[in-house]
Symmetry: C2
Subunit: 232 residues, 2 copies
């Protein structure tokens, strides 16, 4: 890992064309040759970058300034990517041996929400019981397949944030499931769209299609499950 602070100008050409005027920035060159150009603001996204695999070549511009050329192998059907960094003045330059990182351990994403709802399906609708998780269909697995008190099949799609594409996804599943006589024996398969937060447009579309929306309280579910000991 090499860290450089320099006044530089950056030009990118590849999937698009982009230009950064001369200014002072941080350049991070990772062991795999990837390069990140950061300013003193914004979020974690660099102003410009080059993803691995790529190679950095140090050269000189016409007027004798240092110029880095970072090139990546062209993906099929794409223009080859090039990042050109022209360095006007270097204020800092240091290299560090970091070693391999053990990596991130995560908890709390959709998968976990699915586990919790699989254990407590009745929080979605009274009388709901689980048939199986990841119920397979020809176009992909349904998050939860349940049965309600009347014996009707209920397909549940779970999202952290409920947006329009999640409703589309559930609609595709319902179209398919309702062609299966084994499931529709006692009546049409119902849909429940469950999310921690449901966007207004998604709600409108869901209700227009007869899909029930359920806003899920993640913390309350966690409480039901007493999973505090899973935390670090």
């Amino acid at each position: 890992m090499r860290l450089v602070v320099a006044r530089c100008q950056v030009d990118y050409a590849g999937r698009l064309t982009a230009h950064l005027p001369m200014a002072t920035r941080v350049l991070m060159i990772k062991a795999d040759g990837s390069v990140l150009v950061h300013s003193d603001g914004g979020s974690y996204k660099p102003l410009n970058w080059m993803s691995p695999p790529c190679t950095v070549r140090e050269g000189q511009s016409d007027d004798g300034r240092v110029e880095w050329t970072v090139t990546a192998k062209a993906a099929k059907g794409q223009t080859p990517d090039t990042l050109r960094i022209l360095i006007d003045e270097m204020f800092h330059d240091s290299s560090h041996n970091l070693g391999i990182d053990p990596g991130l351990q995560k908890d709390g994403v959709e998968k976990h929400l699915q586990e919790l709802l699989a254990e407590h399906p009745a929080t979605l609708a009274a009388g709901l019981t689980l048939v199986r998780r990841e119920f397979p269909t020809a176009i992909g697995p349904v998050d939860l397949m349940c049965r309600d008190g009347a014996g009707l099949s209920v397909a549940v799609e779970i999202k952290r944030r409920g947006e329009i594409d999640g409703v589309e996804q559930l609609t595709r599943y319902l179209d398919l499931l309702n062609r299966d006589p084994l499931l529709t024996g006692k009546g049409a398969v119902r849909g429940i769209f469950a999310a921690q937060e449901i966007k207004p447009q998604a709600r409108v579309l869901a209700e227009d299609r007869g899909i029930t929306c359920a806003v899920v309280d993640y913390d309350a579910l966690r409480g039901l499950d007493n999973v505090e000991d899973r935390l670090f």
Copy 2:
């Protein structure tokens, strides 16, 4: 901008819970208090981070090691975010004044593709002429509304990469447009799904719905338009 190289352990709690075991990493602390934890690989995304606005407080752990606590104000309906960085050994520490960045200038995204196709609709289908760009509907604007040689209305959806959700979007527009007698006077509104690249599944879904797929050659369109002088 402060750059630190240190052996550290990182714990995040907020929208999810995440943990990074003790290892050597680069810590970037930006002027707005945001923090990035980078390893010597991966893409531009940090292993862990805290987005602005947030504040860093330097303290000590129980055993006397340096500990940074980064806190962000809780977003509505969310758990407050906290990033705890326990520093075992610091190998590098430097601060730099970068100033404000003039920012990135871009070219070549979907908007530009839409401009080019608006100028040359006939490249999508022979005889096609533009009615208007961003044609408004109740559920959002159609990228291009055109008319074909026979006087039929044609709705065009433009994507850089054509995936299944783009076809869904166009389908929703067509459903709606086909209820408007002003548009369907001479026959049903047709759909064209235009993209630089169309995924096989998206193509199948589109054709199943009677939507025409058009693969767009961006460079060729650019050539028609003679826009080389727009480049840097």
